[in-house]
């Protein structure tokens, strides 16, 4: 069977699954149960794959979707000239990190899947690699800051439901603010958005929900032919390119 056929079947499967979920929702309205299952998260039954991109991390290293593979990733879009929301969210992410790290749970036990934390700037004009290098590790030395060209960042953000907009400042052309979505996204070990944590964030609840999401979905990503799924996703990315 040609890879493109496998791909079509996968898409059809995904659509059917989605339809099933939709019908399930429409008929028994289990959304209340869902909310109980993961109080801080909206979990996507059909995860959204990230398309191919290349960005730079705060040390100047290349960062592509391959860097998501084999890890669970908390990801937040913000900017460094942001005095309130971004530091608040990064501190929340640091609390999530420590909730896991203190119990030695950053790495999932069954498959050895680790967890990473990423900050992507929505203001690449001001947030250069050097700016991010000063900013991101201040909150946690293990956190990774990403920047790149404005179009690339927009092409990553929009399909994930992350909106942002520049608001002119009072004085100079350089003191603008950026309105932006403040959700923390959870990317699965195949580089697909699996859940969204909307603000205001409660780190303990998010960490607890993450453990449950990880428990429920890691296996699907990491065994039983998921190398196949992975190949499909990466072929799909190549085709898009």
């Amino acid at each position: 069977m040609k890879p493109s056929n496998i791909f079509l079947i996968a898409i059809a499967g995904a659509l059917l699954l989605g339809l099933g979920v939709w019908f399930g929702k429409a008929h028994n309205s289990p959304s209340v149960n869902k909310a109980d299952e993961f109080p801080s998260a909206t979990v996507l039954e059909v995860p959204v794959p990230l398309l191919q991109f290349s960005l730079s991390d705060h040390n100047g290293n290349l960062f592509t979707p391959n860097n998501f593979t084999g890890k669970w990733t908390f990801m937040f879009f913000g900017y460094t000239h942001c005095p309130d929301v971004c530091p608040t969210t990064l501190v929340d992410m640091n609390n999530i990190y420590h909730d896991l790290a203190d119990k030695n749970e950053l790495t999932e036990k069954k498959f050895g899947i680790s967890t990473q934390f990423i900050f992507i700037t929505v203001d690449p004009e001001r947030d250069t690699v050097n700016e991010l290098k000063e900013y991101v590790p201040f909150f946690n030395e293990r956190f990774v800051g990403l920047t790149g060209d404005a179009e690339t960042i927009e092409s990553i953000a929009r399909p994930l439901g992350i909106a942002y907009r520049r608001v002119p400042g009072k004085n100079t052309s350089r003191d603008y603010l950026v309105d932006h979505s403040a959700s923390i996204l959870l990317i699965d070990p195949l580089g697909r958005m699996r859940a969204v944590f909307s603000p205001p964030h409660a780190p303990k609840t998010i960490a607890a929900d993450f453990r449950n999401i990880r428990e429920k979905y890691t296996e699907e990503c990491c065994i039983s032919g998921d190398e196949k799924t992975e190949t499909i996703i990466f072929d799909y990315r190549k085709e898009k390119k």
Binding site: P83, D84, P87, T88, N95, S181, P203
Partner: protein, 156 residues
């Protein structure tokens, strides 16, 4: 002797007057500035403003000798985005209080003359519409954990 007595009386009167006067004003509690990376050119200050008088008090201007300027901001969710909205003033109702806190209202401190470090204090001058002004010192520190998560820092 008489002179000393007079000075004492004046001091006592002044003391009485100032404490009575204080009740007419706004008291500031739990003020702090969130510590920021060394290169940060904006910081945020938070506090609780308590109005002990029986008239509304309006904070109209804040300045600091350590920053180019200070703005009163409110963070709001708008069309799914977090938006900082500059405010011309901040009203504290009679007998009430207003809390400036992360993710809500805050003072945006713009253009630090030198990056304030954790443990230092930031001088802030608060001016109110009744002509009163008040100088406070806000310590620079990291975030405390949110309530209910204090135990996280109990062990190492």
């Amino acid at each position: 002797m008489k002179k000393t007595l007079n000075v004492c009386l004046i001091l006592i009167l002044l003391n009485l007057f100032s404490s009575a006067y204080a009740h007419e004003q706004v008291s500031v509690a739990n003020s702090w500035v969130r510590s920021a990376p060394p290169g940060a050119d904006v910081l945020a200050a938070y506090m609780v403003l308590k109005n002990e008088s029986d008239e509304a008090r309006v904070l109209t201007k804040v300045s600091s000798n350590m920053f180019e300027r200070v703005e009163i901001h409110k963070t709001e969710m708008h069309e799914g985005m977090m938006k900082m909205i500059p405010q011309d003033s901040l009203s504290i109702p009679a007998g009430g209080e207003v809390t400036l806190e992360p993710g809500g209202s805050h003072l945006m401190l713009i253009g630090p003359k030198s990056a304030p470090k954790e443990g230092e204090e930031v001088d802030l001058l608060l001016k109110f519409s009744n002509g009163h002004s008040q100088r406070i010192k806000a310590p620079v520190r990291g975030d405390k954990n949110k309530s209910g998560t204090m135990e996280e820092h109990g062990h190492h």
